[in-house]
C-alpha cells in the first residue's frame, strides 16, 4: 500500500473544476515531481495534499488513514514555498525553532536540533541573522531547514527554486536531492521546469488540464513519452500523423500520406496502439540531395530556415508532410533553399497517443 494516495479527488475553485477524479500514489521514501505548464493543476494538487485546499469529492489517504478532513496544522507535513515565506520578524534560529516550540520541545533540545538542521543546510553561524539579511538561496535553505526540523511525515515543495538565478538553481536542486536522500523523506515536488524535475526525481508526473498524462521514471518519460502533449512538453517537435498502421516482424509500419515509416518495437514502446509518432530534432538526420522516393523512413524537402545553435545547426525543412525541425552538427551548413532528405531512424521514432 502506498504511503500517500489521492483517490478520485475533485477540487473546484470559484465554480471551476481544477481537478476531476484525480488519482495519485506516492511510495515511502521517494521523490515525486508534478510537472506541467501553469494552470495544469500541479500546485492545486500540492496544496490539497498540504491541506490548504479541501477536496470537493474523493479521499486523501495517508498511511492508510483518512486525511481528507484533517486540518493543516494537524498533518505534520513540511511545506517549502516559492516565496520562502520566512517569518520576517524572527531570526533564522527562531524561524527554524518555530515548529519545535509549538510541539513543546525542551529548549535545550531545540538548540540542539536547530543547530543540527542548520548544519545540514550549510547555514551554521547564521542563527542570529534576520531573513532580510540573507540572500535568496540562503532564505530558501532556512525554509527547508524550518520544514525539516519538525521531522515531517511528508515534505512538499512548491516551485522552490523559481525565484533564484540559474546557477544557484542548479546548486540548490542538487542540495535538495542530497538532503532528501540523506533523510529518506518522502517528497512531493512541484515545478514547471522540466530539467529541474527530471534531475532530482524518482518519478515524474506530467500534468495537463488537471490530469496526469504520464507517470514514470524520468528516463522512461524522456525516451518514451506516452502522449503528444508529453512529447511536446519534453522537447519532441516533430510529429507524424499516420492513417494506416500495420505490425510485422517486430516493428510497426505507419503510412503517412503514402509515405511509409517503420518504427522499431522496444520495451518502453509496447502496447501503444496509436497512429501517431514523434521524434526529437536531435534524432532526425538530414542528408544533402534528394533520396529515392518510396524508400521507407526517408522524406525529401528543402531547407527553409537555418539557425546556428553553437554546438549544432538547426534547420527547418519543408516537406510534403509539413515542416520538420532538425539539429545537426556539421562544419559547413546547408543553405536556405537547398534540397535535402530527412532520415527518420526507426529506433528513434516513438509512438504516442
Amino acid at each position: 500500500m502506498a504511503l500517500l494516495s489521492l483517490e478520485n479527488v475533485s477540487v473546484a475553485y470559484e465554480n471551476q473544476l481544477i481537478l476531476k477524479d484525480f488519482n495519485l500514489q506516492v511510495e515511502k521514501g521517494e521523490l515525486i515531481s508534478l510537472l506541467g505548464p501553469s494552470g495544469c493543476g500541479k500546485t492545486t494538487t500540492l496544496r490539497l495534499i498540504a491541506g490548504f485546499l479541501e477536496a470537493k469529492q474523493g479521499a486523501f489517504l495517508f498511511q492508510d488513514k483518512d486525511y481528507t478532513r484533517v486540518p493543516v496544522n494537524k498533518r505534520n507535513f513540511g511545506f517549502v514555498f516559492q516565496s520562502y515565506a520566512l517569518f520576517p520578524h524572527l531570526s533564522v534560529f527562531d524561524n527554524v525553532a518555530f515548529g519545535l516550540r509549538l510541539r513543546k520541545v525542551k529548549e535545550a533540545d531545540i538548540v540542539k536540533r536547530v543547530g543540527q538542521m542548520l548544519e545540514v543546510v550549510n547555514l551554521s553561524g547564521f542563527e542570529k541573522r534576520f531573513p532580510k539579511e540573507l540572500s535568496g538561496g540562503q532564505r530558501q535553505r532556512v525554509a527547508i531547514a524550518r520544514a525539516l526540523v519538525i521531522e515531517p511525515d511528508l515534505l512538499l515543495f512548491d516551485e522552490p527554486l523559481s525565484n533564484l538565478d540559474a546557477n544557484l538553481r542548479v546548486n540548490m536542486r542538487v542540495e535538495i536531492r542530497r538532503i532528501q536522500q540523506e533523510l529518506g523523506i518522502t517528497t512531493v515536488y512541484v515545478s514547471h521546469d522540466q530539467e529541474e524535475c527530471f534531475s532530482i526525481s524518482d518519478k515524474v508526473a506530467i500534468m495537463n488540464k488537471g490530469v496526469i498524462e504520464q507517470l514514470g521514471s524520468p528516463a522512461a518519460i524522456f525516451k518514451y513519452p506516452k502522449t503528444e502533449f508529453v512529447a511536446r512538453f519534453i522537447g519532441f517537435t516533430n510529429f507524424l500523423n499516420g492513417s494506416e498502421r500495420q505490425e510485422r516482424d517486430g516493428q510497426v509500419e505507419l503510412k503517412v500520406a503514402g509515405h511509409s515509416f517503420l518504427i522499431a518495437s522496444q520495451a518502453g514502446n509496447e502496447g501503444r496502439t496509436g497512429k501517431k509518432c514523434a521524434i526529437r530534432p536531435d534524432d532526425l538526420q538530414v542528408e544533402a540531395g534528394h533520396g529515392s522516393t518510396g524508400e521507407p523512413n526517408r522524406l525529401n524537402g528543402i531547407v527553409k530556415i537555418s539557425t546556428y545553435l553553437g554546438r549544432s545547426y538547426q534547420y527547418v525543412v519543408e516537406t510534403a508532410l509539413g515542416n520538420f525541425t532538425v539539429n545537426q552538427e556539421m562544419d559547413t551548413p546547408y543553405q536556405n533553399g537547398q534540397q535535402v532528405s530527412l532520415v527518420f531512424p526507426r529506433e528513434k521514432l516513438v509512438l504516442v497517443d
Binding site: G51, N73, F81, F87
Partner: protein, 262 residues
C-alpha cells in the same frame, strides 16, 4: 535654470506662509499680556497659559476627550483589525459593499453623519450621552483604522501564515504570533491617526455631547462664543504641541513616507 529655481522657492515659501501663517499668528497672540486677542502682541506673558488650568471645564473636557479617544480607539481596533484582515485576506461576495460601508464615514460629511448618529443613537436608542459620544467616536475612527491596517496587510505575504499552519500552528495562534507582529507598525500608525482624528473632532461631537458632558474642542467653541481673551490661543498652542509630538513619534517609529506609499 537658476532663475526658475528661485521662482519655485518663492512659490514654495508662499504656500508655507499660507499654511503656517495662521498658526504663527495664534502662537504669538497667546503671549499677549492684556485681555484682548491681538496681533502683534504688546508684550510677553504666560498668564493665559495659567488661565487654561483655571478654567475648570477645560481640564474636565480634556479628560472626556482623552477618555473617549482612547476607549473609542480600543473599540475601533477590536472591530477594525478583524475587518481589515477579512477584507485583505479573503475574496467573498459583497466585499466591495463592505469596503464601501467601512469607509463611508470618511465620505459622508461629518455634519450629516453627526446628525444621523444623534437621531439613531440618542433619540431612538436613548443611549446615555457618554455612551453615545463613545459610539460616535468609534465610528469616526473605524475607517482610519481599517484603511491603515489594510494597507499594511496588503504588503503581507499570506504564504507566511500558511507556513505557520503547516508547522502546526492553529489559526488564532498564527494570527497573534505571525500576523500581528508583522503589521505592528501599521497598527501603531492606525492608533495614532485615529486618535488625532477623534481628539480633534468637532462635527460628530457637537451632536453627541449634552448637558454636563463635552469634549475639549466643543468646550473651546463655547468659550470663544463668550470670551475674547487669548486663553484659546494658548490652549491651541498646547494642542499643536501635543499633535506635533504625536506626529514626531509616528515619524520616528515608521517614517511619514508610510502614509504616502500605497
Amino acid at each position: 535654470m537658476q532663475e526658475k529655481n528661485r521662482g519655485l522657492a518663492v512659490f514654495t515659501f508662499l504656500v508655507f506662509l499660507f499654511l503656517l501663517g495662521p498658526l504663527v499668528i495664534i502662537s504669538l497672540t497667546s503671549f499677549e499680556p492684556s485681555t484682548v486677542l491681538r496681533f502683534p502682541p504688546k508684550g510677553f506673558s504666560l498668564r493665559w497659559y495659567e488661565n487654561i488650568l483655571d478654567v475648570e471645564m477645560f481640564l474636565e473636557t480634556f479628560k472626556t476627550s482623552i477618555f473617549v479617544s482612547v476607549i473609542g480607539n480600543l473599540l475601533a481596533l477590536a472591530l477594525g483589525i478583524p475587518a481589515a484582515y477579512a477584507l485583505s485576506r479573503y475574496q467573498f461576495k459583497g466585499k466591495g459593499f463592505f469596503n464601501a460601508v467601512f469607509l463611508s464615514p470618511v465620505l459622508i460629511p461629518g455634519i450629516v453623519l453627526g446628525f444621523a448618529m444623534l437621531k439613531y443613537v440618542i433619540v431612538i436608542y436613548d443611549l446615555p450621552i457618554y455612551a453615545g459620544l463613545l459610539v460616535g467616536h468609534t465610528v469616526v475612527m473605524l475607517p482610519f483604522i481599517i484603511r491603515v491596517i489594510a494597507s499594511s496587510l496588503a504588503n503581507f505575504d499570506f504564504a507566511i501564515e500558511e507556513a505557520a499552519y503547516s508547522l502546526g500552528s492553529g489559526k488564532l495562534a498564527t494570527f497573534f504570533k505571525v500576523v500581528l507582529p508583522n503589521i505592528r507598525s501599521g497598527i501603531i500608525a492606525a492608533i495614532l491617526i485615529a486618535f488625532l482624528e477623534s481628539f480633534n473632532n468637532v462635527d460628530i461631537s457637537v451632536f453627541m455631547t449634552g448637558p454636563g458632558v463635552s469634549t475639549l474642542p466643543i468646550q473651546m467653541l463655547t468659550y470663544v462664543e463668550n470670551n475674547f481673551d487669548p486663553t484659546i490661543a494658548a490652549l491651541s498652542v498646547v494642542l499643536m504641541i501635543i499633535t506635533a509630538v504625536l506626529m514626531f513619534l509616528i515619524e520616528r517609529l515608521l517614517g511619514l513616507s508610510y502614509f504616502t506609499k500605497r
